[in-house]
Symmetry: C2
Subunit: 625 residues, 2 copies
Amino acid sequence: MDFMARAKELVSKMTIEEKIGQMRYDAPAIPRLNIPAYNWWNECLHGVARQGCATVFPQAIGMAASFNCSLMEKVATAISDEARAKYNEFKKFGSTELYQGLTYWSPNINIFRDPRWGRGHETYGEDPLLTGKMGTAFIKGLQGNGKYRKLDATIKHYAVHSGPEYERHSFDAVVSKKDLYETYLSAFKYCIDNADPSAVMGAYNRVNGEACCGSKTLLKDILYGEFGFKGYVVSDCGAIRDINAGHKITQNEAESAALAVNNGCQLNCGDAYLSLVDAYEEDLVTEETITECVEKLFEARFRLGMFDDDCEYDNIPFDVVECDKHTELNRQMARESIVLLKNNGILPLDKNKVKTIAVIGPNADDKGVLVANYHGTPSKYSTVLKGIQDGFDGKVIFSQGCHIRHTDGNWTGYPVREAIIAAKMADVVVLCMGLNPSMEGEEGDSYNGDVAGDKKDLSLTEPQIKLYNEIIALGKPTVFVNVSGSAIALCDQDERCDAVIQLFYGGAQAGNALADVLFGKYSPSGRLPVTFYRSVDDLPPFRDYSMENRTYKFFKGNPLYPFGYGLTYADISESWISENEVIVKNNGGMDTDYSVLKFKTEPHKELLDFKKIHIKVGEKIKVTF
Amino acid sequence: MDFMARAKELVSKMTIEEKIGQMRYDAPAIPRLNIPAYNWWNECLHGVARQGCATVFPQAIGMAASFNCSLMEKVATAISDEARAKYNEFKKFGSTELYQGLTYWSPNINIFRDPRWGRGHETYGEDPLLTGKMGTAFIKGLQGNGKYRKLDATIKHYAVHSGPEYERHSFDAVVSKKDLYETYLSAFKYCIDNADPSAVMGAYNRVNGEACCGSKTLLKDILYGEFGFKGYVVSDCGAIRDINAGHKITQNEAESAALAVNNGCQLNCGDAYLSLVDAYEEDLVTEETITECVEKLFEARFRLGMFDDDCEYDNIPFDVVECDKHTELNRQMARESIVLLKNNGILPLDKNKVKTIAVIGPNADDKGVLVANYHGTPSKYSTVLKGIQDGFDGKVIFSQGCHIRHTDGNWTGYPVREAIIAAKMADVVVLCMGLNPSMEGEEGDSYNGDVAGDKKDLSLTEPQIKLYNEIIALGKPTVFVNVSGSAIALCDQDERCDAVIQLFYGGAQAGNALADVLFGKYSPSGRLPVTFYRSVDDLPPFRDYSMENRTYKFFKGNPLYPFGYGLTYADISESWISENEVIVKNNGGMDTDYSVLKFKTEPHKELLDFKKIHIKVGEKIKVTF
């Protein structure tokens, strides 16, 4: 079954106009060739997204914190099952609309180089190896291992893309060759080498003067040349027009389209490739080049089994969507994504002593912080409040206490005083604060004043700080739960709270997962996939893409919590007996999952490998890399 | 214990500036007289509002649909218990801030004369008697029957106020004397006669040229004169400044303040009464008048027991807030607020036949439509989806299907196709559509294009109509659940759906209550408190305040569902044996609550009285009015 041969045969029957039409993401039908309309754009960053109900797993940054590649592959397999189940129904309509096809523009494997970047929570953090391994597991789970490809995974955004959001259509990221290969391209290469992703998405920005979607250096020389990539490249949405309108590299869309196509960007999200007709007529692009593009695209469609009736995924039933098995898997991933940052012994909570819990804060009962961005719709979900209500037999008092931002809502009062009353009545306070996806996100989706989706600093908002100080002043045992997709400067929390938990955006089961941790049903095992700095003042300028003084590898300061940090409820010791062998021992506390991280330290700290194990109290396990 | 005598004594110690200061809603402390700062503004339209967690009962319009005055009084008693419980804690801070006092600016007893009015859902509907009786029950529950007054209830907005929202600061409602007394003032008089409300709030608009908050006719002549009102009057927020800035009746705020005070508006929400100092110095108002105002206000504060330590409500504990008893009461009110508009026999659903239910629509899982406006925060809530999930053992498939408006959200896809897939897999479809509180509400709170919080017409939105038509075309048994605070033209639903239910904004227990009705645990007993017209074209112009051709009393057309309409699951017959006696018989079906409505028909239909009974199958009950 030679998919390319079949593609070539089919494409050979198309006119030049028909071929050009197929290079748009919203490819029209060609009835005379029995080709249905097909929309290439779909999303599944942490669950099938934007097409209704789906199991909504923790946001990517949270899944990265699990440091658990095999679990990640299971999650991605659940996602691809749901995706196929939906496709099997959608295709009965005779075409696929937006977000209904099999070609998914996930995962986002950009490096989260600066905590201010609004889209950082879509990534697997700041380390290229963690990103490469998590991306690889995710791609494998999406693409499957069958006769046909289960889904097409698309690694994005190639390359370097990491803010500022509000300048992305015109920004030129200037990077050294060392940073480019060592940091920005490393995970792309890793995924291509290890997981054979079907596609790559070009970024909006320029890199060293070349627009990513039309870059000879990035596409022709590195991606297809050095990395030996065999798949197809899709532009980010509107990125081709940006080449002339934003980057001013070309004079018009026809030139932009030609530049992109000639350098190997076969598919266009946007409508700039409508101008390929002009470009062809002006001899900016040859029919042969166009033919090769369309052949690649149809190879992919054939490989997905779209034109066959013996595809092994055609019988995945609709009721796998949000099935109990996936919900349980989701809860497991949500548990493993939780990072315990401080614990003076208050956790797990002692149900014999704790009779009343006050759950306080603007992120405690907000569905939005569960689903983050690029998300599906959970038909059931567990907020922090609901998880604690469901997981605790005692009394739970809730007070939102404040709006997360001054600007949210005018008349719906959440008085700080109610929170103080609640705290005073409780044995333990769970303070749930942080950010939400409208405060860190994509240009257009999010709004943070003049920095669009990016963050200005690493602070909590003013109303939260005010509420926090009032509650802390009461001197009650306090567990601080930070819900955010990026690093927050939790210095005061580290000092004054009894425990600090990083929840990230935890998906539909976040509350249940947190309750599992709070009440000792699960020993936390997540580790930070990013450095938690003490202040925005410790960082280089946001627009500076040099890696100097960034991430755990190069940061010269003293971080609050380093990359890889994360506590368990067990007393674990590691004894490295050789470069690749370590004895891990659980000296007490409780049974726990545990990620062993292997670093080198010269010329700077660098993650070389990691493995996650389960270790019982008193157990000793030898881990070999 | 003469509250007025104590007030007079205290006020006699104040300087003129101190007195004027106490006429602001945010009255400052007078430490030398041991008077703490007090904020008069509080809200409890359908539960303690805007001060954190509270039992959130159905929106006012829904409670009116219960036609159950004794239940209404129980609800208001629960509200006043929660209000006192909160106050008992808030006062420990040494002052009360916004939304923390005992003086509540509820209920809204304006007449819902036109379904386009955005704030109509805050009212008890279009009938003055129903409004008067519901208002009376509500006020009694709030104010209690003790040595001290439990809370101050404030009837608003005096008078005539009912849109347009976007013109309210300058609008002159022109009304005939007949309409004024018979329609617009009737419920105010009824409540004053029967429930002795502590306060009246003046409206923004003018009536026949006079600004309500400074109207000699409305305040001095009618309210204090004819109606014998003994309480105090508070301006709506900013309404005093409107007298000069919006209505152009006076030259400046000092004149506006003097006009209002001289006509009997003692308390100012806003800051216009700061100008009373000028007005006093310019001899526009006398110290005697000011003194009388402040005495009235302090009479109210003494009557609430604020300055005593033997108040019978001081020991209501905080944990009455959202206690189980109130939650159960809430579910009962939510059940009774549901109006069954059509049933071809599909309801109650037969659990032996119905194994899979598809819950479809943008209002199925939206917390916002539960709480409506002027609301507290439920710490637990049951959406339509959740209620069905919790109340049904079979399979529930959810699909939002569309955004409620085109403008809501850009990238979060809710494909119609998913809804079609869900419907096809189901035995029964529950379609949950309507409006939400951002589409009908107050000026400023809500946005409906150029009509602010008002509605342009009685239609569902375009995306909902599209979704509706796609689902209905499938021919599946369909229950249409309309969630709105006002009449929607459900003509097509009445024709093509198997059942039609009006849910209103049902409070925190709405989903459980609906499930009780769907699955036959409760026979619906609500009746429409407003006429459901067939089209906006059947209505007089919105700005025309004449009652001609409005409401069931005067409408000359053929409504879709008349005022008072509502089905049960029983076969009920009524036999009137005299003007004031009726034999009600339950001929079969199931035991049910039932409201008996007594109308006269000449010179037009008019509700004279109503009583709600419980009647078992086969039972015969004689109801006497």
